[in-house]
């Protein structure tokens, strides 16, 4: 730790080039297929699902967004965006609160941690089915009482985007949020809070002016996870969205029915949103990190 290792040899060993080649192939493997559908979404009007390109055009993208095509995605797109943003905000707030709680000792902390990890690794189809069943049972139980006070759900059940759907997404994003908070707080010395306290800061002041600036870049990371995981989530959504559909669900359904490059145009649009969010948050992360280093050279 203390001693910096001196490079033993000037020349890179042969294994470096082999591994670099392996890594390059891995990156091509990761990105290659996506590049092909990005390319094919600009297929000419008479082009098909595979190469060669029959000209280059915005035909399929226009068809998709003009509403003239076989796919109506505008409303699903808006629903997913609204849900993703809600999940993002809630994931950040709830994860930070829980992260702060785990800095102190409280009864049940171990149980909560294991539940969070379990929520991450229990198959999503099981969770999805469970939430759907839970809501159906609750509806059955509550319906007589609600009817008695004149409240009856017009749709027949309470499964929906912002009830069961939101919950199913949080059960997926919060474990990631908590694990990131763990990683962050494990590296953040408790003496910062103690120093703040010694200087007379209140709880809120010590959080607002000491802890928050130090963890802010990582909160952006949690926000990124919160949005992108919700934006692409499909397995947990499958039974919990009620009568509505999110964008990935539409997309999965379309894989079996659409036989034109319109589906690639949709894929390109969805990926464009993902990339905007990813690179936007990464830029914000770097910006915050730099600002943090300028203001507090010794922090971290």
């Amino acid at each position: 730790m203390a001693v910096k290792t001196v490079p033993r040899e000037e020349k890179r060993p042969r294994s470096f080039y082999l591994l670099a080649l392996f890594f390059a192939l891995f990156v091509i493997f990761l990105y290659g297929p996506v590049v092909t559908i990005l390319t094919l979404s600009f297929q000419g009007p008479s082009g098909g699902l595979t190469f060669p390109m029959n000209g280059v055009s915005f035909y399929w993208l226009e068809r998709l967004w003009g509403g003239g095509g076989s796919v109506d995605i505008g409303s699903a797109f808006r629903r997913s965006l609204a849900l993703g943003l809600t999940v993002m905000v809630l994931t950040v707030v709830i994860s930070v609160l829980a992260g702060l709680a785990f800095r102190k000792k409280f009864r049940g902390s171990t149980a909560l941690f294991y539940v969070a990890v379990a929520s991450l690794i229990v198959p999503s189809i099981v969770v999805s089915l469970g939430i759907a069943l839970e809501f159906r049972i609750l509806d059955e139980i509550l319906r007589p009482y609600l009817a008695a006070v004149g409240l009856t759900s017009p749709r027949g059940n309470s499964l929906g985007l912002f009830t069961s759907g939101l919950g199913s997404h949080l059960s997926w994003t919060l474990p990631f949020g908590l694990l990131i908070m763990f990683a962050v707080f494990n590296r953040l010395d408790k003496s910062y809070e103690e120093a703040a306290r010694d200087l007379g800061a209140t709880n809120w002041q010590s959080f607002r002016y000491v802890i928050l600036p130090m963890i802010a870049p990582f909160l952006i990371g949690i926000a990124l996870f919160g949005f992108t995981l919700s934006w692409d989530e499909i397995a947990r959504s499958s039974q919990t969205m009620g009568s509505t559909n999110t964008l990935p669900l539409e997309l999965a359904a379309l894989t079996t029915t659409v036989t034109t490059p319109e589906i690639y145009a949709l894929g390109t649009s969805v990926t464009a949103v993902s990339f905007t969010v990813i690179f936007g948050t990464l830029a914000a992360f770097l910006l915050l990190q730099r600002r943090r280093q300028r203001h507090a050279p010794k922090a971290g």
Binding site: M1, A2, P7, F16, L19, A20, F23, F26, V27, L30, Y31, G32, P33, V34, T36, I37, G48, L49, T50, F51, I94, L97, A98, L100, K105, F106, S109, L112, F113, V115, I121, V122, P123, I125, V126, V127, L129, G130, I131, A132, E134, I137, S164, L174, K190, S191, R197, N203, L224, F225, W231, A235, L251, A252, T255, I263, Y264, G267, V270, T271
Partner: protein, 324 residues
């Protein structure tokens, strides 16, 4: 693990001021503080606990309860019957030579688990090793790590369908092979096949191996590697005697992710298998579509038990909380 601890300990004992400080700090912390009221922690943990209670614990409980219910063509009704479970395992224990549907499905899934686990482990370890030991500067390491991570934040379905123009009957691979004269007719097993499923699963989930293994590797004190070289170890000996034992926790965590994801998968197997290959998740989904909730619940409970047993076995090898 122990090796690293020894070194830190010996370093600390070398400088008395450093070793004195933590002890003093611990002494201070033992005094109960009135600064933060005891209930604040509970209040802070409450939202997360509530979400998991409502959208994880209770749903699993509901699934367990419903798995004992009765169902007809039109409705499900509360009861306590074990017929759903006997339906799930129909023919499994009768002693016949043919495998029952459930066992056959799990066996098929197990095949994918084994293939995908082996491949993701090999690829993930190699990539992490390159990033950790061969990329010299931290900014470069972070940049290349991000290159690996970004696809994880994009849609899985899109990453699946992006194989279609490559692997289809008239896709790039077949056209190229035919153009080169290597094959006469298009290969049919490239898409909507076991091969396509395994390929897509490796494509989607190798990152789950890279991240924990990379995390463990970055914690290895580089001085240990130097020491091994100085003691005359070959690269291979260093790898097997130093690196692999120290990244074992990362390997186990990555394996847990990959194994559980593949076991419960139904989307990848559905889309890339052309809806022709069986998986437990797909069975459950089909039963849900026919509104046969109780038997779907019974299948879900069996799947859950299988997954939990697997994790339990793997967790005996490592303590996750230490790894963050």
């Amino acid at each position: 693990m122990t090796v690293t601890n020894d070194i830190t300990a010996s370093e600390a004992s070398g400088s008395p001021e450093v070793s004195a400080l933590p002890a003093k700090g611990q002494g201070v912390r033992k005094v109960p503080t009135s600064w933060t009221p005891w209930w604040v922690g509970y209040l802070q943990a409450a939202p997360m606990a509530l979400v998991f209670l409502l959208f994880f614990i209770l749903p699993l409980a509901a699934t367990f309860v419903v798995s004992f219910w009765n169902y007809t063509e039109y409705s499900i009704e509360p009861a306590f019957v074990t017929t759903n479970y006997s339906d799930v395992f129909y023919g499994c224990f009768s002693g016949g030579s043919a495998l029952c549907t459930t066992f056959a499905t799990y066996l098929s899934t197990l095949k994918f688990v084994a293939i995908v686990w082996l491949l993701t482990l090999q690829i993930g370890f190699t990539v992490a090793y390159f990033l950790c030991f061969h990329v010299k500067t931290l900014p470069m390491q972070i940049a290349l790590f991000m290159v690996c991570t970004i696809p994880f934040w994009t849609s899985n379905v899109i990453r699946m369908i992006s194989w279609i123009p490559l692997l289809g009957r008239y896709g790039l691979v077949n056209e190229t092979l035919q153009g080169l004269g290597l094959i006469d007719a298009p290969l049919e097993w490239l898409l909507y096949s076991d091969f396509a499923v395994a390929l897509a699963l490796v494509h989607l989930y190798t990152l789950f191996m890279v991240v924990p293994i990379f995390n463990s590797m970055m914690r290895i004190d580089k001085a240990l590697i130097e020491a091994a070289y100085d003691a005359g170890a070959s690269s291979w000996q260093t790898l097997t005697n130093i690196v692999i034992p120290l990244v074992k926790p990362g390997i186990v965590i990555g394996s847990i992710f990959v194994v559980t994801i593949v076991t419960g998968d139904y989307l990848t197997i559905g889309i890339m298998g052309g809806q022709q290959i069986a998986s437990v998740g797909k069975v459950i989904q089909t039963q849900i579509n026919f509104l046969q909730f109780p038997i779907a619940a019974a299948n879900a409970i069996v799947l859950l038990a299988v997954v939990l047993l697997t994790i339990w076995g793997m967790l005996r090898l490592v303590d996750i909380r230490k790894e963050l």
